[in-house]
Subunit: 374 residues, 2 copies
Amino acid sequence: MQLPPADIGTPVDDIDTPALVVDLDAFERNLAKMAKLARDAGVRMRPHAKTHKSTSVALQQIAHGAVGQCVQKVGEAEVLVAGGVRDVLVSNEVFGQQKFNRLAALGQRARMAVCFDSPEQVAQASKAAKDYGVTLGGLVEIEIGMQRCGVMPGAPAIELARRIAEAPGLEFRGIQAYHGTAQHMPTHAERVAAIRQAGEAVRQTRDGLAKIGLACEIVGGAGSGTFRQEAASGLWNELQVGSYAFMDTDYASIGDEKGGNRYTEFEHSLFVLATIMSAPAADRVVVDAGLKSYSMEKGPPWVHGRAGLEPYGVSDEHARVRVLKGTSTPKLGEKLMLIPGHCDPTINLHDWYVGIRRGRVEALWPISARGASR
Amino acid sequence: MQLPPADIGTPVDDIDTPALVVDLDAFERNLAKMAKLARDAGVRMRPHAKTHKSTSVALQQIAHGAVGQCVQKVGEAEVLVAGGVRDVLVSNEVFGQQKFNRLAALGQRARMAVCFDSPEQVAQASKAAKDYGVTLGGLVEIEIGMQRCGVMPGAPAIELARRIAEAPGLEFRGIQAYHGTAQHMPTHAERVAAIRQAGEAVRQTRDGLAKIGLACEIVGGAGSGTFRQEAASGLWNELQVGSYAFMDTDYASIGDEKGGNRYTEFEHSLFVLATIMSAPAADRVVVDAGLKSYSMEKGPPWVHGRAGLEPYGVSDEHARVRVLKGTSTPKLGEKLMLIPGHCDPTINLHDWYVGIRRGRVEALWPISARGASR
C-alpha cells in the first residue's frame, strides 16, 4: 500500500499527483439522491462494493439506509465484514471448496449470501455451511439477457432453487437478476425495453417459485443506468447500484430520458488529479497520470472544467493532452482533473480516496479492498 | 496488500485464483537471452521497472549484468533503492520541488539520474541537489518521433544540456532517446525505419554536444520491439527494455524479422491463472478474472495452450469465454492460463508474482512498487 498523497488540510493545489480525488459535496449529493429514489420507490438499496472497494464508502451508504453491500468476490466480503458490514451478498457465483469455506467463516460474523447457477456450487456451499455451523443464504441467478452467468428462467431456475432450499446449511433467499449490458445501452428507450423483457423472466420465475412454496426475500439487480426501471417494476426489491456514487465518462455518454446524449442523473464526483510535467509544444502537453492511474478500456479520460484539452496517446504512467486551436496552452506544473472512462477499475488502481471540500483535503479513505479479486 | 494466493510448494492446480503466475523457466530464459544479446552487442542493460514493479525482478536483472534500473516515477525509485538497487534513472521528466527533493534524498544512497525537457525542471533539480548535498545526473530527452516529451534534437537539446551541465548539484550524463511508438509498429521494416530515423537525431545531438565538450555517458532508449536496432546502431549504449521478461499479446502480435505476423523473440512467461466458476452453456463459460486482474486496453487476453477458447465480454471481475465449434466445453472448476494484452498495467493490478516450476509454486515475489505512480 502506498502512502497517501496528502494530509488532512492540504490545499488541493498541493496534493501530490497522480491522486484519486473525490469531490465530497458531489459524492454526498449522489449518495443522498439515490437513497431517496430507492425510499420513494419502496425498494431496498444494496450498493455494489466492486465499484468503491472500500469499507469507508460502504459504511456511508449504509448510513444512508442501505441494507448491506454486494460484492463480486469473497475477498471483498472479507474486507467489508472485518470493517463492520453485517449483511453481504456475493452477487455472482464462486467455485471451489476453499472459497465457500471462507464465505462460511464470514457467516459467523455477518449475514452472508451467494448466487448459484449449478448444483456443484450448491453442494460445495452446503458442505462449508455445515462444517462451519452457519447458515448461508442462496440466490438462484437467472439469465435475463446479459448472457454471462445464470440458469434459464422458469423451470431450470425453479429446479435449482429447490435444490438450494433443500441443501443443509443453506437458506433459499431469492433471485439474482442483473442485466449488466442494459446499463450501458446507448439510448434510454433501449434500456427500458431490455429491463421490461428481463422483468418478464423475473416474474415467471418468481411466480413459479411461489407455486412450490419458495418466497423471494431478495429479487436483486439493477445498476446506475437502469435502476429506475427495476425500482418501478414491482418485481425487483433490492438495487445493486454502484457507479452512481462517482460516475465516469462511460455512464455520462449514454442517452438520457429526453432523448439527449448526456446522462446527468448523477454528478461526476471522482477525478484523477494530474500534473503537467512536460510542455514540449504549443499544441501538446504531457500529464503524469496514465494507464496505471485510470482504466483505459473505455477510452481516454475527459478533462474536467477545461474546454479544448483532449487526452490521447496514453502510456503506462503518462498521457499526452492535445491543446485544441483557440485554447491557451496550459503551463508546466498546472494541475488537471481527469474524469476516468470507467470508475470501478480506476478506483482499484489506487490505495487512497482523497476527499476534498472547499479547496482542501478533508478526508483520506483507504481503498481497503483494492486488489481483493479472490 | 493482499495475502499471496498460494504457499511455496502449493501444486499449480491448487493456487487460489485469480493469480499472477510466472513460468520461472521461461522467465529465466528471457532474462538470460536479453543479457547475452546486450553483451554480444557491447551495450549496457538498464531494464525498465515500470514493467515489473518489483525489487525481486530488478535484482535478478542486475544479477544478469544490468547496470541498474529505469523507472518512470520517483515512487518506483524509492521502492527500488530501499530494496538495494544502487543506480536508477528516471527515464522521464518530473515536475515540482517535492518530487525533486525526494529524488535528491535517494541520492544519498544511490546513483540517481533524471530526464529534462525544460529549464524549470533543471532549476528545481539543482535546488534539491544543493539542499540535500548530493549530485543528481541529468539527461536531456530528445523528441525522436514518439511525440510525447522531449526537446527537439540538435540546437535546442544542446542548449538545455549546457544548462544542466552548468547547474550546481547536477551532472550532465547524456541523452534520453526512447521511441515508444516504434516498439509496437506492426512490421519489422517499419520499426527498423523508425529507429534509423531516430538514430540520425541522436547522432546530430551527440556530435553537437561533443563540440561543446559534453560527453554522453548514457545514450538511453530502446524497448523490447526494437532493441536490436538501437544495440547495433553504434549510438545508443543503454537498453531500457522491460516487456522482454514477460511478453504479452500486444508484443506477440507485431511482425517478426522474416515478414511473419508473430513476434517470438521472447517467450510468454506471464499468465493470469483463472478458474471457470460458471458454465451456463455449451458455447460459453465464465472465468473469475476480469478488468481488475488484467488490463484491457489492448483487448481481451488469449488462453494459453488451449485452442478454441476465446475470452470476450470482460466485466470487472469476470470474463466470458467463447467455446468455438468443435472444442469441448471446459468444466466448472477447470483452470485457464490467460496471456494478458499488456503486461505492465496487468502486473500493476497484483500484489504477488507466483513463480511456478515443475507443477508447483517455487517463489512468491511481492510486487513492491505496485501503485507507486507518484
